[in-house]
Symmetry: C2
Subunit: 196 residues, 2 copies
DNA sequence: CCTACCGATCGGTAGG
DNA sequence: CCTACCGATCGGTAGG
């Protein structure tokens, strides 16, 4: 059974993602949950509280990349497989409704200092991990020696984020097109960086 | 001399970009202009009117890429120069304060149907143009024959947009870093696609 | 361009 | 979890 507190969080996420924080009222959230506006205050101290609690509520979703750190750095795995593995995580995120809504909300409210910090650290962490991965591949002589690992990581990630934006924000592509474009990018990119 | 109407548009753009449409009140806009809230209605029929008039007011800024269409397609120009030329347009946009604010506002309010349409058509048009450019290069035997022009266009653009996002939205990079990364991307990308 | 004002709605509280 | 209510602020209007 889903608790009222959880219902409030779910409906808030939905509304904040679609209409923005200031575009959503407490009464709207309450109506979506099926209670009166004042009843929300039995579960949260205010609107800001709901917003910030959303990040704790959905925190487990944010840790995915750490789980795969060791996979990244396993020296013996096929590099192309690791790249595919990483891309699949990014894509599968897009099939998780809550994750999609959280991302949409964060992009909308990106001027909020808490949101900005989270977006920044998420981006930074991912780039750092992939940079290390490429640096290792270079030491092993598997990718071209003239590549800067950090630059390579950014170039790799740029298309993943771009295709995701097309799907998520601009709604220019279907989910199938997102998958296909990402797949193509990985093949193209790997061909360009691998030592032949 | 700048008119009150223009002052209202400028201050609205500023506030909408920073705090969002719903996060900005008519009285806030008026205060920034230096008049009372009710006086705005001598220039605009309402808040929505200001928002939509912003696009007409800033329309000249949106036409840049059409001006350069012929430059793109001039068969004899050095392709690398054309790519650089395009990238410079993208970068120079980021030095125009109004352009930056407009983009921030549009990304914020991307769920607004008018905004969504504009973002989509802008993206589509750019991709179409660059696709034609790459198709032409391919016919001329200047880039690899196995490349799909549309895919190549998306891959080219993805990093430009990514580095811009880092600068604009995430504020991870300085303007200098934006320029440098974009420059590097073009060289790297061109080396990967050109027929040797 | 202002003062004065409208009804509606906002986030939030009291008290049960 | 509700009813009833708070002061503040919202977008907008009337009238000068």
């Amino acid at each position: 059974m889903i608790s009222t507190r959880e219902k409030i969080l779910n409906e808030s996420l939905d509304l904040f993602a679609a209409k923005g924080y200031h575009g959503t009222s407490m009464r709207e959230i309450a109506k979506a949950v099926g209670i009166k506006g004042s009843s929300i205050y039995n579960h949260f101290s205010g609107k800001e509280d709901i917003f910030s609690e959303l990040f704790n509520y959905l925190a487990p979703l944010n840790l995915e990349s750490e789980k795969f750190q060791e996979k990244f750095m396993a020296a013996d795995t096929d590099p192309l497989k690791v790249l595919n593995y990483f891309a699949n995580i990014v894509i599968e995120e897009m099939q998780d409704n809550n994750k999609v809504k959280l991302l949409k909300m964060m992009l909308r409210e990106n001027n909020n200092p808490v949101v900005k910090k989270r977006l920044q650290s998420r981006m930074k962490n991912n780039i750092e991990r992939i940079t290390k991965f490429f640096a290792q591949l270079q030491q092993q002589g598997k990718i071209k020696s003239n590549l800067e690992p950090a630059f390579t990581a950014n170039e790799f990630v740029s298309a993943l984020i771009y295709y995701r934006m097309r799907y998520l924000l601009f709604e220019l592509d279907s989910f199938e097109e997102l998958k296909e474009a990402t797949q193509k990018h990985i093949c193209f990119f790997w061909e360009n960086i691998r030592e032949k």
